[in-house]
């Protein structure tokens, strides 16, 4: 660092290089408005996500509206963050939530703990829990990050609108 010339070159050189790149993109965006632009005007504009993006969970339904989740707790067993809580109960013909004998009476995910690894989706024997692309998960209170079954469950398909 003794040589002032070398020091000046090593300090200002990279800065100038970086600024040049910024300037290039800036002009491209302002002048050319081409597809290579880096910044998107979120939230009005949204970048398309990769097909295997994993964000917010959803509990899906069969076409007839029955829940796919059978309350088997395999997702909770696979979860490395231990953030899923499942309590099962028995279906009856009068109160039927899912095909077969068992359904999830409680299904909760602590989103603060979730690391979005997707193991739950991998473990699910019925394809009930899926990680989708909804990534806007910020909230104001800690308690609001405890997603309940009602929050996670897909809405019931409208009659006749299946498919």
């Amino acid at each position: 660092m003794g040589n002032p010339v070398t020091a000046t070159r090593e300090t200002w050189g990279p800065i100038a290089q970086g600024m040049a790149l910024t300037l290039k993109h800036f002009t491209q965006m302002i002048v050319a408005r081409d597809k290579t632009s880096v910044t998107v005007q979120y939230p009005e504009e949204r970048r398309e996500q990769y097909p295997r993006t994993r964000w917010r969970h959803a509990l899906t339904r069969h076409e007839d509206g029955l829940e796919k989740c059978i309350g088997c707790s395999l997702c909770a067993g696979a979860c490395p963050a231990r953030c899923i809580y499942v309590e099962a109960a028995e279906n009856s013909d009068e109160r039927r939530f899912s095909p077969g004998e068992r359904f999830a009476a409680r299904y909760e995910i602590n989103m603060l703990r979730c690391i979005f690894c997707g193991y739950c989706q991998e473990a699910c024997p019925t394809g009930a829990i899926t990680l989708r692309k909804d990534f806007e998960l910020a909230d104001h209170h800690r308690a609001d990050f405890l997603y309940t079954k009602q929050m996670l469950l897909e809405p019931t398909p409208a009659p006749g609108a299946a498919g």
Partner: protein
């Protein structure tokens, strides 16, 4: 079956010395060689076993040819290791290509009709069929035909639910009911691929031990009505514990989740329950400690209760107790731990100077108990549970053993099953025609109401007739000759022949010495024990969970006893009464007396886990801990002190009774030095001779026996 002689066998090239006749599957297990199985269970008979064919191994035996040369002759077919008795020179291979193929084949067969509904099955995650399939099975099935279908969830009884699709016909449950519990309620119906488990005429599976079949089922065919779908194995935490539902003190495992005990499984303790549990414990214990629990101290406010802090509650209690001083009294429940009882005792005697404490709710008097101790020695259960196996005969008097002492009953039955013991029974004629012991008893003698002394006298009389050379004083002979002439029926005569074979064991239920005729019963028992040489093996079986511990601590040694305490509460002679873990309103032999006493009592504090009928009548209610929420020790019927471990935190601010007592002692200005339950135990060990031998090491294992008091002349 097993000779003590050792033989040389070779398993997978490893030379072993094993007892002749030992099943190869056991030899291999000890050598660390894993042989998969489903139907094998070391405590069940081989007679209907060896049917799953999972444990096939290749076997060869040395054969001496005509010219004297010894060659190894391989058995043409693979053999089941579970039923193969070890013999000299036997060579076993468990991992050959043929065996690997055979196992894969057996698993494929087992799975072709199995529904594979593992995600909803209660067994999923702890299922031998899953585990063996993972280790030894093929990845895919070649079966494309229709599977066998039955209606799901067939209720066998109020506790047990059967799923016939999952059943692999291993016969463990049927063998359990035939060999262990003896009620033989389950068996196979139909044959071939239609073979299924069922009861005769679809009757309810009403065994007292039905829960064990759920535990030993290697698939999820038998499931518990209570536990059904409540949790998966990985949701559960398990803690070692002791069952508090009766005095037998089974070692159990508590499977719990979120502060709830979801199921109880047996834990191996060869000295007590081996590995079994009874339905009362298995299904009753979770029920008795779950439900509406007390979470905070309550103070009476008119005809309602108000939640208060411990400070307030203990302040009121301490003030009242202090004011009552020597007149204060304590009634303890049978489920309290040894530490609770010791702390309560310390509170009474050290803190208040009172000796008004007791635990008994029945009609048996201290006098009866002391007289029995005089006659038969200070140890109320000298034979113990495992000791029954060595007894040539065991006479059960005044107890429906299977109901009151289920584990003692199982041990008695086991002893009979292996031909070691004759079971004898004296039972009231008002009992059901088929008693549990009567089903296998050598002799079952019936007596009319209050006829037990006469029946015992009759047995003595027949015994004297059977053995003229018997040493007996003229007084005994005269006594035996009085009264009604001996009943000359088959049952009585058979009993006399068994009694004449030498010393045996007598089990005396609490009921036998609780009636007004206890003196006559005791005299007759004394004579019978004397004549048969069994005076040292008369066992008085207490019923309450920790009654034996309370007795050893001298908790019921003082006058005026429970009756006196309740009378004192009614008359005002007992101005302050603490009822700890007891519910006299439902448990006292004369509930009306208890209710009247509590109504008139000036101050009653109740500590319990739930708001019991007694607690509703109290002035202060303190929340205490169940066996799952704390550490401590309990003493079972044979005097075995056993440890239980805290499984989860107590609800709210609930506290164990010993800690409540310790905090009260502090408020009374006589602080203890107990910081944990171990400190109470240590204190107890150094101050109570009976607990002198209870070491923490022993408590970690099968428990420690109480030291029998020395008889000082």
């Amino acid at each position: 079956m097993n000779d003590s002689k050792l033989v040389n066998v070779t398993i997978n090239g490893v030379p072993l010395q094993v007892p002749k006749g030992e099943r190869i599957i056991e030899s291999a297990r000890r050598a660390g060689i894993d042989i998969p199985y489903f139907c094998y269970h070391p405590r069940l008979s081989m007679e209907n076993g060896a049917n799953c064919r999972m444990c096939l191994v290749e076997m060869a035996m040395p054969r001496t040819g005509p010219d004297g040369t010894v060659t190894l002759a391989k058995h043409p077919k693979p053999q089941t290791a579970c039923s193969l008795p070890a013999d000299e020179g036997m060579v076993v291979e468990t991992e050959t290509e043929a065996i690997v193929k055979a196992r894969r084949g057996v698993l494929e067969f087992l799975l072709i009709n199995h529904p594979l509904d593992c995600p909803v099955c209660d067994r999923g995650g702890e299922c031998p069929l899953q585990n063996n399939t993972l280790h030894y099975g093929a990845g895919a099935s070649r079966y494309i035909e229709a599977k066998r279908h039955y209606p799901k969830a067939y209720p066998l009884s109020e506790h047990v639910v059967l799923d016939r699709e999952r059943c692999i016909q291993c016969a463990r449950c049927t063998r359990f009911t035939q060999d262990i519990s003896g009620d033989a309620q389950l068996d196979f119906l139909k044959r071939g691929a239609d073979t299924q488990i069922g009861t005769f005429n679809a009757a309810a599976f009403s065994s007292l031990f039905s829960g064990n079949t759920i535990e030993i089922c290697p698939v999820g065919a038998l499931t518990s009505r209570d536990y059904r779908f409540r949790a998966r194995p990985w949701d559960l935490a398990t803690q070692k514990s002791i069952c508090t539902e009766c005095s037998n003190g089974c070692s159990i495992k508590l499977d719990h989740r979120d502060g709830l005990v979801l199921r109880v499984n047996g834990r191996v303790n060869e000295a007590v329950n081996e590995e079994w549990t009874c339905d009362r414990g298995k299904f009753g214990l979770p029920a008795s400690i779950s439900g509406e629990r007390l979470t905070a101290p309550l103070l009476r406010d008119g005809d309602r209760f108000r939640e208060v802090t411990w400070d307030v509650a203990l302040g009121v209690v301490a003030e009242k107790l202090q004011a009552a001083g020597k007149q204060a009294a304590v009634l303890a429940g049978s489920k309290l731990a040894n530490e609770d009882l010791y702390a309560l005792q310390a509170l009474c005697r050290g803190g208040l100077g009172s000796v008004r404490y007791d635990y008994r709710m029945g009609t048996q008097s201290s006098e009866a108990r002391d007289a029995a101790a005089m006659l038969f020695g200070p140890n109320p259960a000298p034979t113990g549970i495992a000791g029954l196996e060595a007894s040539p005969w065991t006479l059960v008097v005044g107890s429906d053993l299977a109901v009151e002492h289920p584990i003692v009953f199982l041990r008695l039955r086991k002893s009979w099953r292996f031909g070691k013991s004759k079971a004898l029974e004296m039972v009231s004629s008002s009992a059901p025609a088929n008693t549990h012991v009567g089903a296998f008893a050598w002799s079952s003698v019936r007596y009319a109401d209050r006829g037990l002394p006469e029946s015992l006298r009759s047995a003595c009389s027949l015994l004297l007739a059977e053995m003229p050379g018997l040493t007996a004083t003229p007084e005994i002979r005269a006594w035996a000759a009085t009264g009604t002439p001996p009943a000359d029926d088959t049952a009585s005569r058979r009993m006399a022949t068994a009694l004449s074979t030498g010393p045996g064991t007598i089990l005396v239920g609490e009921g036998a010495l609780s009636g007004p005729d206890w003196r006559e019963v005791l005299v007759a028992l004394g004579h019978l024990a004397g004549l048969t040489g069994s005076t040292g093996s008369v066992n008085r079986l207490v019923s309450g969970c920790n009654d034996r511990g309370a007795e050893a601590l001298g908790f019921g040694d003082w006058q005026p006893g429970t009756a006196g305490i309740l009378a004192g509460a009614a008359s005002g002679a007992t101005p302050a009464l603490w009822i700890a873990g007891a519910d006299p309103v439902t448990q006292y032999h004369d509930p009306q007396v208890a209710i009247a006493a509590l109504e008139q009592a000036s101050f009653v504090v109740v500590s319990d886990i739930k708001l019991t009928a007694t607690a509703r009548m109290a002035d202060v209610v303190l929340p205490s801990c169940s066996v799952a929420e704390r550490d401590g020790t309990l003493t079972n019927v044979e005097g075995r002190v056993q440890r239980f471990w805290k499984a989860f935190e107590p609800r709210g601010s609930a506290s164990p009774d010993w800690l409540i007592a310790a905090r009260l002692l502090q408020r009374l200005g006589k602080p203890s030095v107990w910081f944990g339950w171990q400190d109470v135990l240590a204190d107890m060990r150094s101050h109570v001779a009976a607990f002198g031998g209870v070491s923490l090491d022993a408590l970690e294992k099968d428990g420690a026996m109480l030291v029998a008091p020395q008889v000082v002349d």
